[in-house]
């Protein structure tokens, strides 16, 4: 029983990892647009972020998996879930980056600018390392939330942990055990993630905030 449920770990990890990565990358141009001085671009980005976050994840999955085939875009369930979660993650990550950037004192931008550093080196070497420190806990929290949300992919037939537990439950009528095992597997994956993030966070903070 454990073996069958655990066989879903691979897909759970793939969907979570891929969506987080794609979302993290898409979040970069998105936050740039969100902070743009050009109003139409900023409005568009704000609307995207708000709309994406207003729709429940499961609705997104159904929309992509059941909705797109009407336009002859038939996706397999794994791709559909990765696309759905990536879209959602991009909006959340953009907002996370934005709060990180807002936490950097204006003086840091000014000092780098006054030193003659241009936009890219300024962002890359002065702002990003500081913003990363601030956003890391939020990113880790979102990664864990996404890991749990990935269970929704079972509803469109992705053979991940929860889907496998469902199969086992129906076959053996031992639902309590099957879903408890599934729960333990999620715990086993999310707790180390949380601990690792806390550790990195502590190390980064120690480096900066000693007096």
């Amino acid at each position: 029983m454990l073996a069958q449920i655990a066989s879903g770990i691979g897909l759970t990890v793939v969907i979570t990892g891929a969506s987080l990565l794609i979302g993290a990358l898409l979040g970069l141009p998105l936050v740039a647009a969100r902070r743009s001085a050009w109003v139409p671009l900023r409005t568009l980005a704000t609307a995207y972020i708000d709309i994406v976050r207003a729709i429940p994840p499961i609705t997104w999955l159904f929309l992509i998996y059941f909705g797109l085939p009407q336009y002859a875009l038939r996706l397999d369930s794994v791709s559909a879930s990765i696309i759905g979660f990536s879209v959602i993650a991009s909006a959340y990550m953009a907002e996370t980056y934005r709060s990180g950037l807002l936490s950097i004192p204006q003086g840091q931008w000014e000092a780098a600018t006054a030193l003659g550093m241009k936009f890219l080196p300024r962002t890359r070497y002065v702002i990003t390392p500081q913003a990363f420190k601030v956003t890391l806990p939020a990113i880790a929290a979102y990664a864990i939330a996404l890991l749990k949300d990935s269970a929704l992919a079972s509803t469109i037939g992705v053979h991940e942990i929860t889907y496998q537990a469902g199969l086992v439950s129906r076959a053996t009528h031992q639902g309590l055990l099957a879903f408890s095992i599934a729960g333990l597997l999620y715990i086993a994956m999310s707790i180390p993630l949380a601990l690792a993030a806390r550790r990195v966070d502590r190390v980064l903070r120690q480096k900066l905030e000693v007096a």
Binding site: P105, G107, Q108, E110, A111, A112, T113, A114, L115, G116, M117, K118, P121, Y125, V126, P129, Q130, K133, K207, L208, E209, V210, A211
Partner: protein
């Protein structure tokens, strides 16, 4: 001494400052009215006056941290005219390259060590190698008396030490003009003294400096001229001794009485 060699190594330009008809307003609210300043290379000008006078705004217009509404700023051989709808990036880059700025709150980069604070801009702005940048940083750290702190993060240092590092960071780019925005205002009086000592040395070595300050002794003893501002205007600009001891403007007299007779 190190600074002297730095200067001769950079291309020969006239290091003076010329500001013509500088205006700055936020919407309808004008904060600078027709400010003019003409400085020779090596001159030190202190800007004093009550808070809200526009002193810092004026200084920040010189390197375009604030974009003036009108007027021209010339530093060395670079001129930027606010009338140009969008000043081209190249001129702004040049303007910032020839100016060094020191802020009230130091604004060191907290995630970098003292050494890295001084080397990063050199590598990214001037394209120096790490070795070159380290050598410049080492000599400057010696100059400001903080060579022993090079591997520390700024948070471990006192405010006075941080400000001396900030001065070293700006000097590392061999600016023609140094802009100081209330460099000692965030410091205990004692810590302020060590910063003022560094600035005094810099002035003695011939650096062109504009200093927004509330340190009246510095203004009188170190600067060549003092500019008094109030309500976004220049009240008077003259030899420091004369402005500080025999000001012509009634508003200046009132201000000086308030800061000196306490």
């Amino acid at each position: 001494m190190e600074l002297a060699t730095e200067r001769t190594a950079s291309p020969p330009t006239v290091g003076g400052v010329k500001v013509l008809g500088l205006h700055k307003s936020y919407g309808k609210h004008a904060v600078l009215h027709d400010v003019n300043l003409d400085m020779a290379e090596g001159e030190v000008v202190s800007i004093i006056g009550p808070s809200g006078a526009g002193k810092s705004t004026f200084l920040r217009c010189l390197n375009y941290l604030e974009v003036p509404t009108a007027g021209t700023v010339t530093i060395g051989d670079t001129t930027v005219d606010a009338a140009t709808r969008r000043p081209d990036r190249a001129s702004l880059d040049r303007l910032r390259r020839v100016t060094g700025m020191v802020f009230q709150n130091f604004n060191l980069f907290p995630h970098l060590t003292v050494l890295e604070n001084i080397t990063l801009p050199q590598m990214k702005v001037l394209g120096r190698s790490r070795e070159e940048a380290n050598a410049v940083a080492d000599s400057l750290l010696n100059r400001v008396g903080l060579a022993a702190k090079s591997d520390q993060h700024p948070a471990r240092l006192s405010g006075g030490q941080q400000q001396r590092i900030a001065i070293a960071r700006a000097l590392a780019l061999s600016p023609k003009v140094m802009l100081f925005d209330e460099p000692t205002s965030a410091l205990d009086p004692e810590l302020g003294l060590e910063v003022l000592a560094v600035m005094r040395n810099l002035a003695d070595e011939g650096m062109t400096m504009i200093v927004v300050t509330h340190e009246m002794h510095f203004a009188r003893d170190v600067s060549d001229r003092v500019m008094v501002m109030a309500d976004g205007r220049v009240l008077e600009l003259g030899p420091s001794e004369q402005v500080m001891t025999a000001p012509t403007h009634e508003r200046t007299k009132k201000f000086l009485r308030a800061v000196l007779d306490r």
